[in-house]
């Protein structure tokens, strides 16, 4: 199967958004409830977790570990891309605004947060 240059130019980039949406959806479906329970409920109330779990040193050590950085980037960026895709398509179906405005408000936010997360993880050091 061959594609003319015009066909190649007409190819949409939406599969990329779809992939990020699916990755974020699967990651949150597999680990989301556990993560929210641990960081949002068990750790702050000290249930089953030691006092130093939320200490500055422990959090810094996690964010300085290369694997920890990868986990944080994957969670933050993919969760935002997942929400962005769902909100964009929903608002588009509701005819809530022009396509450009909706894209900026959803994909734009996810892109900004992803870049900011990478910069913060680099600034925190290794």
């Amino acid at each position: 199967m061959t594609f003319s240059t015009r066909e190649i130019q007409k190819r949409s980039i939406s599969p990329i958004f779809w992939l990020l949406f699916g990755a974020g959806g699967m990651l949150s479906a597999l680990f989301g409830p556990a993560l929210i329970l641990i960081t949002g409920i068990l750790a702050p109330t000290g249930t089953g977790l030691p006092e130093n779990f939320l200490s500055y040193d422990a959090a810094l050590a996690f964010a300085r570990n290369p694997l920890g950085k990868l986990v944080l980037l994957a969670l933050i960026a993919l969760f935002f891309w997942h929400g962005a895709e769902r909100v964009f398509l929903t608002l588009k179906d509701m005819k809530a605004g022009s396509s450009l405005v909706l894209k900026l408000g959803t994909y734009g936010v996810a892109a900004l947060v992803s870049v900011a997360t990478i910069l913060l993880l680099l600034a925190i050091g290794f």
């Binding site: 949002g40 959090a59 929400g83």
Partner: protein, 132 residues
């Protein structure tokens, strides 16, 4: 007279709030909860990068009743996301054929939901165990 005038079925502006579309709207908006938790993590990372005092402020927020209530609501919404995510899965994945027969969608949903629950439980027990 040759102008094309197709019939357009009238659709109320709030169609998405009425059944049967309401269920789809609720499912799609569970993505907001997923992104909101991403936002909590991002806020934590931002305060971590600003030093110990800023981090202490974030931990104080996590310990506040408002944050605990927020996380209970997020947990409920994300569990709803887990259930609906795997209800949709058989429709988005290629047909699964075992021993020459297609696996029924409900079976895929059931197995995947149980698997996801097991993964979340395993993560909780792993973190509780590792932190001791």
């Amino acid at each position: 007279m040759n102008e094309r005038r197709p019939y357009r079925r009238p659709m109320p502006g709030n169609w998405w709030a009425k059944p049967p579309y309401r269920a789809y709207t609720a499912r799609e908006l569970s993505g907001v909860a997923v992104a909101a938790y991403g936002g909590v993590l991002f806020a934590g990372l931002l305060s971590l990068s600003r030093g110990p005092e800023s981090w202490a402020g974030f931990v104080d927020f996590l310990k506040s009743p408002a944050s605990l209530l927020l996380h209970v609501l997020l947990l409920a919404a994300v569990i709803f996301h887990v259930i609906t995510w795997f209800q949709t899965l058989p429709k988005t994945m290629p047909k699964m054929i075992v021993n020459g027969e297609a696996v029924p969608p409900k079976k895929i949903t059931r197995i995947a939901t149980i698997f996801a629950g097991a993964m979340s439980l395993a993560l909780v027990f792993f973190v509780l165990g590792a932190a001791q």
